[in-house]
């Protein structure tokens, strides 16, 4: 039972990392960012390439992998997303999907299609009255909680965060104040992509690594964003952990049905609270 709870919290934490970027990009730019799968996957592949060079320094390598994603996501934002502001959602969706198609093919080109194995970087267990819980999973949950408070501070205290929150509410109003909103949007986009890469890097050791790994997790985090509310940062946090729990509990009784259950929850939420986007 404790293992189920820990598993649920881990999945929830990973979902939080990935969906925060989706939620932010949607809330500010009105762009459904399918290329999120790409930044996530690139982060993971950068990790496995670098870890072969620098064995043993997982934290350092993870940091480097995330740093590597930042310029890539900036390029995506600058040359594709920025041209799509104010377009209908369909075109943004198709364009970002095209980017992820190109990126995934590039990954297949460079690294091949075969899945890579990866070990738990800490490898120690916390023995707790007869139950052993991997420390790594606890670390992930702690990072997620830290990130939640960190982001809250960022959005409440710093000027950049305040501008972003204001433009979540009313983009035109912020623009009328003479603030170059596009600049802050690219910051938000890069931040979201970096967080997706963080999620990927942290999740890689406990999942399988293959070029299409981003798709299923993107669908799950999209469910998180729908349940939590588009552009609602606190809602995203709670719905991520709630859906992570749903996955873990379902997996305990019916291991194959975990992902399906999340979508069923999403469908129920949509029936009672239809959203117009």
């Amino acid at each position: 039972m404790i293992y189920t709870i820990v598993y649920g919290f881990t999945i929830g934490a990973i979902l939080y990392f990935i969906s925060i970027g989706l939620s932010l990009t949607f809330g500010t730019m009105r762009v459904i960012n399918f290329a999120h799968t790409l930044t996530y996957t690139i982060g993971v592949y950068a990790l496995i390439t670098l870890i072969a060079l620098l064995k043993g320094y997982f934290a350092l390598v993870a940091g480097l992998a995330i740093l590597l994603v930042i310029p890539i996501s900036y390029v995506i934002e600058r040359f594709v997303i920025r041209r799509l502001y104010g377009e209908s959602l369909d075109y943004t969706f198709i364009a970002t999907f095209a980017i992820s198609l190109i990126g995934v093919d590039a990954i297949k080109w460079i690294w091949g299609v075969n899945p890579y194995p990866m070990n738990d970087p800490i490898g120690k267990y916390l023995v707790f009255s007869g139950l052993s819980v991997p420390i790594y999973r606890i670390v992930i949950v702690l990072i997620a909680i830290l990130l939640f408070f960190g982001l809250n501070l960022f959005f409440k205290k710093t000027i950049v965060g305040k501008i972003v929150v204001a433009s979540l509410e009313d983009k035109e109003g912020v623009r009328c104040l003479g603030i170059n909103v596009d600049k802050y949007f690219s910051i938000v986009f890069v931040l979201g992509s970096a967080l997706a890469a963080l999620g990927g890097v942290l999740y890689a050791p406990i999942s399988s690594i293959h070029p299409y790994m981003g798709l299923s997790i993107l669908l799950l985090s999209f469910a998180v964003v729908i349940v939590g509310g588009m552009g609602n940062l606190n809602g995203t946090f709670f719905s991520a952990f709630a859906l992570g729990m749903v996955m873990a509990v379902t997996a305990r009784y019916w291991s194959q049905g975990a992902e399906t259950m999340v979508f069923i929850v999403m469908a129920i939420v949509l029936i009672f609270k239809p959203i117009d986007i």
Partner: protein, 348 residues
């Protein structure tokens, strides 16, 4: 174009509709359309092969059903393969377990896909835009997963299973020319149905929903019902395409429900020109030619697909058909101006 604009601003009342309808009919139903389509597919048959062209036509049916949803109603779905797969599987399973009669199997496939559309439509149709696309994608993912693992006993998981329909008089679907003929017939039937539907008051209504749903609802129409019916129709037509592909290949496997294949039909609709049935046909053939022949020459064809999608979204939104239509309209306008200049009329 004109009809569309006025309808979105001011949908005609029910008494006015019949007259607009006859105008539409006079303009849009021409036997030559059907002859052209049939001749087009028959012409490419010697260049390619009968089997391949049958495959192309099935994909064109699928593309037209997608076009009803995306081009006409303006709802982009990224999970339309779900209905294709449902049709294929229910047809295959019916033949395998119940009876070998192919005609009943086709009807069963359409009915099951339609039923799925009725059930899922209740949830999906409430959403719009990217939410609609992603929920479809999510359901497609669930369907793919269901076929792969929980229903493995029946569907044979990744391996798929063979479908051998029994002979029904002269209708022997294992013979290539008969399969070709019946698929062509289905294609023309679907084309006729969709042409009829999209130029009827119902079609005007769904196009108005694409333009501005709030306004249509404001005028007192139950938009949910219209969207739901369209969704179910698109689903059942995709189911028809699925049953035909199952009969054509004599084989069903999870690839018919693969989430990643959705990009193909979106690409086909966009390159041909969304919101135009000819666009769906042209796009379907172009996409099938690309996906059949390009991988032989270019290994990275997914990347090619991605770049062309980007180019389409940024530069070429009308697609091939829209582009040609634009050229033709431009030419017509020019001719008209020349003619009026000759007559010395300063009109236009």
């Amino acid at each position: 174009m004109n009809e569309k604009k006025t309808s979105s601003l001011n949908p005609p009342s029910k008494e006015e509709l019949p007259s607009t309808l006859t105008n539409f009919q006079r303009k849009e139903y021409r036997k030559i359309d059907f002859l052209l389509i049939a001749a087009g597919f028959l012409l490419i048959t010697p260049i390619l092969s009968v089997h391949r062209v049958t495959d192309f036509m099935i994909f064109c049916i699928f593309a037209m059903s997608f076009d009803l949803l995306y081009g006409y109603m303006g709802r982009l779905s990224f999970g339309h393969m779900l209905f294709l797969g449902t049709g294929a599987y229910s047809c295959g399973l019916f033949i395998k377990y119940v009876s070998g009669n192919p005609l009943i199997a086709i009807l069963v496939g359409i009915a099951v896909a339609g039923l799925l559309g009725i059930l899922l439509g209740l949830i999906i149709v409430r959403t719009t835009g990217a939410c609609f696309a992603l929920i479809n994608l999510a359901f497609n993912h669930i369907g793919f997963f269901l076929v792969l693992s929980p229903l493995r006993e029946i569907t044979r998981g990744e391996d798929g299973f063979g479908v051998s329909a029994s002979k029904l008089g002269f209708l022997n679907f294992s013979s290539r020319p008969i399969m070709f003929g019946s698929v062509l017939l289905c294609l023309l039937l679907v084309f006729y149905l969709l042409k009829r539907l999209t130029s009827s008051p119902f079609g005007i209504m769904i196009r108005s929903i694409k333009e501005d749903e709030t306004r249509v609802r404001f005028l007192g129409y139950n938009t949910f019902l219209y969207k739901w019916i369209t969704f179910v129709l698109a689903g059942s037509l995709a189911g028809l395409a699925g049953t035909l592909s199952a009969l054509n290949y004599n084989y069903v496997n999870p690839n018919s429900m693969d989430v990643h294949s959705n990009v193909g039909v979106v690409f086909a609709c966009l390159i041909g020109g969304a919101g135009n049935l000819y666009g769906a046909l042209v796009g379907g053939v172009v996409y099938m030619v690309i996906s059949n022949f390009l991988p032989i020459y270019i290994h990275r064809w997914e990347m090619f697909l991605g770049f062309s999608l980007l180019i389409i979204t940024f530069r070429f939104r009308k697609g091939i058909c829209g582009y040609l239509l634009g050229l033709w309209e431009h030419g017509a306008k020019k001719r008209l101006i020349e003619r009026s200049a000759e007559q010395g009329v300063a009109k236009i």
